[in-house]
Point group: C2
Chain length 253, copies 2
Amino acid sequence: MTKNRSEPRRNLAHDIASQMRRDIISGALKPGEALAEPALAERFGVSRAPVREAMIELERGGLVQFETTGRTRVRTLEEKDVVEIVEARIALESMGARLAAVRWTDEDTRWIERSITAQEKAAAGVKFSALDIAMHEYIMKCGGNERLVMLWQCVRWQFEMALTHIHSLQQNMAPDLRRFSVTGHRKVLQTLADRQPEMAAKVMAQHIKDSIEWYAPQASGAMPTAASRARNGRPGKTGGHAMPVNVFKAFSK
Amino acid sequence: MTKNRSEPRRNLAHDIASQMRRDIISGALKPGEALAEPALAERFGVSRAPVREAMIELERGGLVQFETTGRTRVRTLEEKDVVEIVEARIALESMGARLAAVRWTDEDTRWIERSITAQEKAAAGVKFSALDIAMHEYIMKCGGNERLVMLWQCVRWQFEMALTHIHSLQQNMAPDLRRFSVTGHRKVLQTLADRQPEMAAKVMAQHIKDSIEWYAPQASGAMPTAASRARNGRPGKTGGHAMPVNVFKAFSK
DNA sequence: TTGATTGAAAGTGTCGACAGTTTTATCCGT
DNA sequence: ACGGATAAAACTGTCGACACTTTCAATCAA
């Protein structure tokens, strides 16, 4: 694991961005909600300048979006967005796993094993998701490609945000998700410990794709490897889905 | 091809960022060069505020980097960086090709064919590289995943910047690169036209990996699929390379 | 009541300014 | 001549202000 290279320049903007990121991911700030700079400036007791920079940082992470008028809103999430996020995760993390497999150490194996142990003890829900994501982050960093990690961070926050809202809609998390997910993690660990880059990439991709089917089954219809089934779909039309219900409709404006 | 969703809010910052991006990619601004906000503000005839935002936009694209003191410099390029950039390209573009294969149309085929024709006529060098990148961009956009395209843009500028400096060091571009590259493009097009997602992903990855060996042979030693050969390499040590010469030494500070 | 109009309120884009800090240049002792 | 202390210059982070634009709400006509 390499230490983060780019210590972000410590300033108010960064602190504000962190706080707002928490609020958006936690759902305290709702998708579509307007974010006015003067109001935020007052809330944080600063001027508009740092707030403005924080907005740019959040936009980079995909948590807010700028309108053509300049106004800023918490980004909305539709089903299409979740598909995009997961596809991006698969792209980045399968490469991350491939690279991690090359430089994998026994210490890394022990770290993952401890994480899996904690995952088994954690209650299903937000707590488990946090451990889950932390493990994926660890593997990404093991890959040693700082740019890849940085790109991944952009998707990570969006994924966490989506998770929150999925959880809030599916009152009861699929009870078997945790067990299922842990099984996937064990498979991934195996390929990493065996230092098999190509297998690691493939297993990681499959694991992520499988996971999202538990979280949001209806989003899996447009997933990459299922893509060959939904042929000739044109942009805009996401194609038929396995399940009719669309939980993400709740987020769209 | 879907139209770009996020019309960037048109403001001075965006214009300045575009101009500076050109200057950095073209090499007019050299790697490691300091970028002071007051000087840039005067050059563009604006205040520091838009310049500051432009800097953030450039940092997002990896063309400049902030020091802990807050100072901004044109990002330096070492061999390690080129490897990272190419690895990221492979991750994003293989997924992009996979997605593009699903929604590929005959019109897309014609577009690519026209591009390839132009590539064959273009003189090897910067002109060819521009056509090359434009084609890759087209395929990425065909994938329909806007987030993936956005992540790709971050790497694209860095890649173009690297290309410029590689060209300036290798006075004569490998004469066969163009022919070789066009052959790769034809293979990619074939998988897309046949709508074979997995093949498209694989062929695209191979094509990018092959290309970089022409541009910077010594960087290929640490490439993903060659990874299984360079086992147990620890961070910091990039492992043995096929060629001893390191053109990127020239960029490191 | 409904719908268009108009004026007020709020928000964004940009600017100039200032304090604190880093960098650079000068000066002094050796 | 050289290295370190010191002063000057330059730069960043942040602030408050202003013009222009968008949004909202009250008003008025139909």
